[in-house]
Amino acid sequence: MKYCRSFLSLILIAIPALFWSFSVHGQSSDPIKVGANIGNVPWEFQDTNGDYVGFEIELVNEIGKRLGREVDIMNVPFNGLFAATQSGRIDMAISSIAITETRLQSASFAQPYYDSDQSLTVRVGNGISSLEDLRGQIIAVDTGATGDMWATENQEKYGFSEIRRYEGLAPAMLDLTIGRIQGYISDIPAMQYYAKDKPGLQVAERIKTGGSYSIMMGKNTPLSTQVNDVISTLKQEGFINALHEKWFGAPAEATTSTVKVVDMPGVRDGLILNFVETFLNTQVFLDTYPMLIMGLMTTIQLGVLSIFSGLVLGLILALARLYASPAVKFVVKAYIDIFRSIPLLVLLIVIFYALPFVGLSLSPFYAAATALTVVSGAYTAEIFRAGIEAIPKGQFEASEALGLGYRHMMSDIILPQAIKIVIPPLTNNCINVIKDTALASVVAMPDLLKQATQAQAVAANPTPLIAAAVIYVIFLLPLVLWVSRLENKFKVGDR
């Protein structure tokens, strides 16, 4: 797990996108590639057989049939849908995507087929039944989704103490159940569907945002008008309302966009979708820059705390592993081996979501710091051990023969020499810890990468991700150079 997952997914999306944008795509005989955030009930999710099912799945399959093309559905996280659509990696995106002005600048939408509002979901019996009760409380949203935008705009009005941003429904619901968050703001149909069979949860309030959902496609592509026409037909045939009845238990009202044929939303001027405008957009960068800097601060705080406590822990473990009694040695060795092989992401989830059940509920920051420290400590312990073992035996004997005690032998003789040996591997570990802070986004920590992900969803443009990558480099490069200098300085004493 030393390679950061989120970095990887960024590269996986961005690099092929680069090549895709130069290749010919959208041939009418090819299958239609559809990106969907699987798990978004009841729109697109997996049934017990592992098949993709849901309102929008049935809709795109029908659209494909009408256009005489096969439909190829792939699972893309919500935040990846925008870059994937703009780069042509996918032909269309579904995931109850709300049509917004900003999104229309970089993509086309077919006419809407569902009118939605946001909703507040709470835990039954915790005394919160409306938005007014949430003053001073922590609420949760999905990163970059309509609920996120609404909550950010209305944070002051309702006095939410904090907005935590999650990647998907499941972790947010877990935290709502534990009581770590007091409310969850998200699309009302999904929440009604989800809460239907969960007596502990309740959709407490409808938040009128007036959003409507549709299929997102590449800006001004021929496919977008074709799909729009098919949707008109399907509405007239009553197909879409039948889907509504199937998935929501009742037909939609005649005035809603589920029934009525409406105009295709016109795209907005603004972004010309070439490579530079898509990935290196100056305006988007300037708009999202403050968010990224906030994220960077969180990343630095988390990184520095974890590195420092990991060093202390690692040193103690290394000394115990080398010099303690056999029983302690065994335990320490087991600790080191286990935490070097456990994926950090899993540990993070266990610490954050499982420990509350035994009464230990850590904030996202301290949960992330704990996970990073525990793993970093295991790695640094091995680095220190190797460093100490590289010190010649004669140094220990000379110290002992002089009568130096263990403490002075370590602090005056052995460790100062070991430090020089361990600085290069320790630096690599520090850099890894800083990159691994990005994994903290699974516990709703607003670190740099999380902020960038959110910014790219709001702006419907992947520039913030590139900017985040550049910030990581700018931030880590001096560290690398500084340590090289330090190494050279240390060498003088050995001359």
């Binding site: 002992e400 023969a401 002089l402 005056d412 050995d494």
Partner: protein, 245 residues
């Protein structure tokens, strides 16, 4: 009066190999003892048992100034009274020459930095490298490093100094300068046990010469006893081999 250093029935096993066999030895205060013998005869092992760098078998007893040498609270005190000079110098490479000498008195005797420095400079002058005090070990020649190591051991004002083949790792032209320093010390009345292959040096400075072979003390006596009139056949063979080559 009991001897300053006393070894009684000391044996040492490495697994099945017996490195020391029932060694008995008394060293009086002020005595200079040279230990000679072929490689692997247990010379180094014996003196390394005296400050417990090697753990001897629990059937024997070693005492220094009446205190038994064993693991525990007293070990640090014993070691502070027993200085050691190693074949490979074992200076601390990250510390200057001066700090190599200052460290132990400050940490163990608790003397002030100023006093430690003053004393260290005196000792470095005494071994002839006062001008190099601010250099690091790797900047000195082998002979100079070994003289620093002697000064470092002396800084603790030990009751006894152990030398473990102090010239064996040196280039031949540097052996003399180190032996001169040790010789001067011998004349100053410090108690010393010197494991050495330098027969001429042993004859000159020792009050007593011990010949060891196969983990045992085979023969001991004054330099003239051992070198001019060895009684044991093993001693005679050894001396014939080293003196005639």
């Amino acid at each position: 009066m009991t001897a300053l250093i006393k070894l009684e029935n000391v044996t040492k096993h490495y697994g099945n190999f017996q490195a020391l066999k029932d060694v008995n030895l008394d060293v009086e205060e002020g005595e200079v003892v040279c230990v000679i013998g072929p490689s692997g005869s247990g010379k180094s092992t014996m003196i390394r048992c005296i400050n417990l760098l090697e753990q001897y078998d629990n059937t024997g007893i070693i005492t220094v100034d009446g205190i038994q040498v064993q693991k525990g609270k007293n070990l640090k005190n014993v070691r502070a009274e027993v200085g050691m000079v190693f074949q490979n110098f074992n200076l601390f490479p990250h510390l200057s020459i001066l700090k190599n000498v200052m460290l132990a008195p400050m940490r163990i005797r608790g003397i002030s930095k100023e006093d430690a420095k003053k004393r260290a400079l005196e000792l470095l002058n005494k071994v002839g490298i006062g001008e190099q005090a601010d250099k690091f070990p790797a900047q000195l020649s082998g002979g100079q490093q070994q003289r620093v190591a002697i000064a470092r051991a002396l800084a603790m004002e030990p009751k006894v100094l152990l030398f473990d083949e102090p010239t064996s790792a040196l280039d031949p032209e540097m052996v003399g300068e180190v032996l001169e320093v040790i010789q001067a010390l011998a004349h100053s009345g410090v108690t010393m046990i010197v494991v050495t292959h330098e027969m001429g040096f042993a004859r000159q400075v020792a009050n007593r010469v011990i010949f060891m072979d196969e983990g045992q003390i085979v023969e001991q006596g004054s330099p003239s006893d051992i070198f001019d009139n060895p009684q044991e056949i093993r001693t005679q063979n050894f001396l014939k081999a080293v003196l005639n080559h």
